[in-house]
């Protein structure tokens, strides 16, 4: 990142320009961070305080609200549901896509090109345009529990990009790796899981991060498929604070903080990996 040395021909002029650039970046960073700080501080105030003294610090730091959200307003349950959907669909996606990616890059069969372009075509189909027919198909099939239908939706729509990224990675693994194992009598399937799959680790980290964040942050698919409170994800759980509690802002704000807190903590710990994970999809496509 920090590699280009500006040639110091006219140092005076450069200092002025860089001063303005740094000032601009600081303002921009403030525009990102200040709303978050404002939401956090406001969430600790009472409703009245938010209204009357928006700029001051909370008079009494009311952390009790957070406990109440978890115990009384099901935020704990919503969190576990989000974990369920994200973990299950990501694990399934990775295994299924890794095998498919191997077959689509290494194995030799007639329909390979066709299947690959079919899956790539799926990249262009947005999940939004399929939710109505999927909802209808699942009510035809009589599958009412989102634990199955919604997980399937998440896996299916993660497949195309995951297969694309993993195929690209497998192409770069030398053939000799599995050849020697196969020579010694191992089957392709066994060679794949014992030799190739472990080698795919960097690409798998990327797709896990990418898909986990996509599923974790999803709202629309959950909204369509989940109707009962006990099945709701965090995103659906906090969305209702806008309507039902529209007079009680401090709870809405505390719910936002509760949802963002894990994201921010994870981001601060592994920010570079997350940035790579989220953007790899764009650069591959």
């Amino acid at each position: 990142m920090e590699k280009i040395d500006l040639l110091p021909q006219k140092p005076g002029k450069h200092y002025v320009i860089w001063f303005f650039i740094y000032a601009f970046l600081c303002v921009y960073a403030l525009l990102i961070l200040f709303p978050l700080l404002f939401v956090f501080l406001s969430s600790l105030k009472t409703n009245e305080e938010i209204f009357t003294s928006p700029w001051s610090l909370p008079q009494k730091w009311e952390f009790g609200k957070y406990v109440e959200l978890i115990t009384k307003y099901n935020m704990g349950q919503f969190f576990l549901n989000s974990i369920y959907y994200a973990v299950l669909s990501v694990v399934l996606t990775v295994f299924i896509s890794a095998m498919a990616a191997y077959v689509l890059t290494r194995m030799k069969w007639r329909l390979k090109g066709f299947v690959f372009s079919l899956i790539l075509f799926g990249l262009m189909v947005p999940i939004h345009s399929e939710l109505v027919p999927l909802y209808i198909i699942f009510s035809w099939l009589g599958i009412r529990t989102p634990r199955i239908s919604l997980t399937g939706v998440y896996v299916a729509f993660s497949l195309p990009i995951t297969i694309l990224i993993l195929s690209g990675f497998i192409t770069g693994i030398p053939r000799e790796m599995e050849e020697s194992a196969v020579m010694e009598g191992s089957s392709i399937l066994k060679a794949f899981f014992t030799i190739i799959f472990p080698l795919m680790n960097p690409a798998i980290v990327t797709v896990v991060i990418f898909n986990f964040i996509t599923v974790w942050n999803d709202f629309f698919a959950g909204l369509v498929f989940i109707s009962l409170d006990k099945d709701k994800t965090l995103q659906l759980g906090i969305a209702r604070f806008q309507g039902n509690f529209s007079t009680n802002y401090s709870y809405m704000l505390a719910a936002i903080v509760l949802v963002l807190l894990p994201s921010v903590v994870v981001y601060v710990t592994i920010q570079d990996r997350i940035i790579k994970g989220i953007t790899t999809g764009a650069l591959k496509g």
Partner: protein, 295 residues
């Protein structure tokens, strides 16, 4: 080895799970959606085949659909204007920084990791007429201001578009940064030695080399604008009086609030076709401009 690579059983075992799930959840519903778009149906009664009536109604009579299309176009154009030049500027500046570049990049990228719902709720609060951050800030200059940003038909849509720009500019900045980092240092060094200034380097070297990445981000911003839903649903619900309605929110209301599954399917089909066509069209457009600039 060669023989084993053509083994049908192995191929089937490894490809079938992906292929079955893919077919069941992507092409089959797409075909179902096209079929249902030719019907009138409320999910429990009988399916009534009505030909192209849904599409006729959509094009000639459904004024909400017209607003949604217009708003979607505004969404695409304003998002591109608000996000891409800023992302290009930020990436050029940050890639030249010797210190703190990574820090600024990571701060600006932070909202990308947030969910649409969380960001929408934050901005729902920021835009709040009485206690929002925006009006509280403006009060320092205009006493007593309590403008309802999200409840006024003139500002509802643009307020949502600004929210998305706040969240996503960092994303485009990072993919440009990745693009810039693939440009060999020697090219930049050589042109500096030849006397090119930073402005010239940006426009004559970095910009042309970044075009493929700019293409990707233009396609992404277009399709994600077509699909925008979370922010509208949370912040305005398409209102006031449909002023901020978009395709996905209209589809949701028609299908799940008014239980018009046939018409909802027709809107889904239109959304899908628009996404695919705009992706292909933009790809062609960039290919065309590339072949013209290569000499």
């Amino acid at each position: 080895m060669e023989k084993m690579l053509t083994d049908r059983k192995t191929i089937l075992i490894m490809i079938l799970p992906a292929l079955l799930i893919f077919l069941l959840f992507i092409p089959i519903p797409a075909i179902t959606s096209i079929f249902l778009s030719l019907t009138k149906w409320n999910l429990v009664g009988t399916i009534k085949f009505i030909g192209f009536e849904n599409f006729r109604f959509m094009i000639f009579d459904d004024y909400v659909f017209h607003i949604a299309i217009k708003n979607t176009l505004i969404f695409v154009v304003l998002s591109i204007i608000l996000q891409l030049p800023m992302a290009f500027f930020l990436s050029n500046v940050i890639s030249r920084m010797r210190k703190y570049g990574r820090l600024f990049r990571n701060i600006i990228f932070l909202p990308v990791t947030f969910s649409g719902v969380a960001v929408s709720l934050i901005f729902y609060f920021i835009y709040h007429p009485n206690m929002g951050l925006l009006n509280n800030f403006l009060k320092l200059f205009i006493p007593g201001i309590n403008f309802p940003w999200l409840a006024d038909s003139r500002t509802a849509l643009i307020s949502v578009i600004v929210t998305l720009a706040w969240q996503w500019t960092g994303y485009h900045m990072v993919i440009y940064l990745a693009g810039i980092s693939t440009i060999p240092d020697e090219i930049l060094e050589a042109s500096r030695i030849d006397g090119a200034n930073e402005w010239q380097i940006t426009w004559h070297i970095i910009f042309p080399l970044l075009l493929p990445v700019i293409q990707v981000s233009t396609i992404l911003i277009t399709t994600s604008s077509l699909k925008s839903f979370d922010q509208i649903f949370i912040m305005t619900f398409g209102g006031p009086n449909h002023a901020s309605e978009v395709l996905a929110s209209h589809m949701y209301t028609k299908t799940f609030a008014q239980l018009n599954y046939g018409y909802g399917s027709a809107l889904s089909t239109v959304l899908m076709v628009l996404c695919i066509v705009s992706t292909l069209l933009l790809n062609q457009l960039f290919k065309f401009s590339k072949s013209k600039t290569e000499y």
